[in-house]
Amino acid sequence: MTWISKDWAMGGIIKGLIVTLKHVFRVGNRPTVTVQYPFERMKVQPRFRGLHAVDENACIGCGICETNCPNSTITIVKHNTNWYPQVNVGMCLFCGICVDVCPMNAMKMTGNYELADYNRESLIYGPDRLLFNKEVNK
């Protein structure tokens, strides 16, 4: 019986049992912390890097975001009369480099993080889905 020579009292286990019991009855600042996701959502911080948004007035279609994108996520496509970025979210790293390099501050990232979709094609966000200021402009 040498292998269990000490700790016969199982004091450590009893200590642990007390701590877990404190959690069961939520004694002393041990609250439930889970967020019931589809029903309630966590607050997204203002700096959150989610889906891109492009300012329709500011964007000059220069393509700096395209060249600086590490993963070749962005391509510049023609939309109406101007050129705007199109983002393939399926490949995006959400690194924010496109936002950093934009000379006109036209690119920004929103708090939209629910981007799952049924096929790869719909993950390509064209200017029609990325541009904001649209309604304001009219």
Binding site: I13, N68, F94, C95, C102, N105, M109
Partner: protein, 392 residues
Amino acid sequence: MALIYSGGNNVESDELFINMGPVHPSTHGVLRFKLRMDGESIKECTPVIGYLHRGTEKLGEMKTYLQFIPYTDRLDYISAFPNNYAFVKAVEELAGIEVPLRAEYIRVMTMELNRIVNHLVGIGSLLMDLGAATMIMWGFRERENALQLFEMLCGARMTFNYIKPGGVREDMPEGFIPKLNEFLKDMEKRIDDYEQLINGNEIFHMRMKNIGVISGKDAVNYGWTGPTLRGSGVDYDLRKYEPYSIYPDLDFKVCVRKEGDSFARFIVRMDEMKESLHILRQVVDNMPESKVISSAEYGIAPMTGTPSSVSTYFPRIFAPPPGEVYSRIEAPKGELGFYVVSDGTTKPYRVKIRSPSFCNLTAIPSLVKGLKIPDLIAAFGTIDVVLGDVDR
């Protein structure tokens, strides 16, 4: 499995070959062990890695310096700030970039927070592998608070791309420091809880003590670093003995245990979390006021600026002078080094990543020889590898 009586007093059994992984609950990802077993004890253990190989080093040759930073996030995705910093430190040394003091403080703050996060996950997953699932949930509860802080700071929860050559991407937002203080206050009580739950647990002692013992000399020979090395009695911490950033100004002690077994490595991690809290408190108290990036050349238009206001346009070309550098830091898992060779262009000529998990995993075959599968899991859990870091 049939027992063969081979004469004498030795009862030998047939060998059993077990393929543990790449999909297995306790290999922390896609690690695979080829095990030759004698009953329940391991005769030979051969780790097979590479299932998560993404060619990060090759990618480094094809991306510019700034573009490569997001990819470093994906090495050790549990603690991405030190990865960012290690690469950026190499680039800064190569290009001789000065960093404002406030930026260094923010960097150290994020890295120490990340150390806490990493150890929470490491201890939690170790305990989960041993069958006590409570710890990982508690760990993730605190980790979530830290991730909220990260999200507040840089907009991402795990893949930050925050530390840039010359500073950090953005200054801290409003209300960050109070929230951090709250976290620190909270965390102290939580660590007490963890210690009560685990440290004295007799079953945990039975599982961890004298399991996976490695002497300090062997550990050095195997290239072990970080908490795993310090668990073997080697008093070494790059933050202390090859200081970088603002660590010389900070007061902290290096947590060392002599035993060299799994329990010692676990306790070192536990103590390091407390030391990190201590460091964080000093950082918060001494946070200086200055700009956070030395030159806009490497950086960064303000993210929250008003749209359509024309910011100054830079031809953001960043090319360090030709040269090579090996720069290393004390990441939570051990020594993380970047060997960067520049040929004067905008892209590195060669990026070599010395990842702590890879080197620490080297010792597994000798560490677990003769032990049992549960001991393999215990010993492996205390080495605390992340497969993104091993396979790169």
